[in-house]
Symmetry: C7
Subunit: 97 residues, 7 copies
């Protein structure tokens, strides 16, 4: 049975979209020419961060949201052949709809 | 159908003005001589940042505003042949009118 | 008799899962090919950090929780042939369940 | 028609005084011998910065003020043959009267 | 008569445990092979730090506590042939019991 | 007519004491042997800084105060053959009396 | 008549104990072998720092206190053949009694 991650604080887990291995012209792309995907889906979200005054700042993002994320700043782990990305919500650029 | 970005926090998305490829004297400019445009239009804006006390600090900028932005600090993405720039509102220099 | 650690503030002590010394294909792995485990169990937890306003911010994690932790940032000590990791709770990526 | 800039937050726009191209002794100065002017006039001012508690901190400077500014820290743009300097008010050294 | 130190703020003074000069196998260890001890006893403690709002944040540690401290970050002084370590309480890893 | 500077925020303007060009033994000192004076008189002072909560933190120093200032950290300008130093009040070491 | 320094904010002035120029064995020590003294007496103290909320945080140290100070971080000035050290109170390690 697959296990689940409950992110702490304002962290989210993103499953990035799969990279296209074929260019639009139909050529098979070498690794360096493939752009790292910067889009994915939120598969888990923390409860939010607790401010210095003890207040829970609720999250804007939830499971299922499609997001645009920056190229750097993620903690990357491998889980069941998937690469998962851990970000703080404040690093996410935008929700895509 | 085109998709839309809903920026998080105090982020905005700017579509920069197109670069002029011809100098005022009519010469076609090589790439290095063309100045990066520093003006554009806000095409999406977040709800504002949430302060440490849990308060939403509302935005000064909205969709349609013409803005002057700094040369550095943007996250740049390509979307449908357009380059889009993600900034935090606090990095924007001025509204142009 | 074994002694116990009572972490200060928002620190936790993690006993990392044991590294597998044999690869899935059955080969004995040299040291450099073995990934550092990034999972473990919380064996002690502090009371939480005290904010600037004197408020105790309670912990999300407790003894027995399985956690995913980042590769860097721990203070590592050896205790009775075990390696123990000291982290601040805010550095922990997620609870695993 | 000339366009106007409305600086965001606590930013101001300064039109620096013109550099004197002739030294006091009447010699034409080479570029490196001319000091960068550090004085100018405020031609636009933002509404002030919004603090973490959501409060607007009003500006001390307004349009028409003569100011002394530091040599570094400005964002410089060219507009209609003028160089304009964007500063945060907190970087300005003094009002001149 | 021995003099005493009253640490300021949230500082504590630790007398580290003595290094074992003989390895478990009975060999006399050269200096580089001896691990710096990371345990000791609190021999003096400040009243606590005063927060930005003027509040005294009381200490968790007191005289006589056995503690685990990090390898770096102490101010070390020599006093009557003893090495004493000054730490801020927030740097201490755990109380040992 | 001489112009005046009104420093912004918690800035002060200091006119440093004149350097003695003759050593106590009567020798004319070369430039490198002359110590930079670190004392001077406050000739202008700002109203104080405005805190994040919008509160004006009043100044401790006023015009006419003799002060001891650090060797580094000033913004230096030349005005009518005088060198003037701009400091934030928080950088000043002491009032001399 | 000797002049006095009134330190600003949470600064104190320390007159360090004199260095012993003779080692315990009676040898005259070369300069490099003499340890910089890290103890001295408070000869002047500021009123305390003013917090961001406008509150005066009172001092723990006063004139006449013997203190232990760190080797680095002081601003050093020479006054009437004495070396005086300016520290912020928060940098002082302990009061000696």
């Amino acid at each position: 049975m697959a296990r689940t991650f409950q992110p702490l604080g304002d962290r989210i887990v993103i499953k990035p979209n799969e990279e296209e291995e074929v260019s639009k012209g139909g050529l098979l792309l070498p690794d360096t020419a493939r752009e790292r995907p910067q889009e994915g889906e939120v598969i888990a979200a923390g409860p939010g961060r607790v401010s210095d005054t003890g207040q829970l700042i609720p999250m804007s993002l939830g499971v299922g949201d499609k997001v645009l994320f920056p190229q750097f700043g993620a903690t990357r782990i491998n889980e069941d052949d998937d690469e998962l990305l851990f970000f703080r919500e404040s690093d996410i650029l935008a929700k895509i709809s």
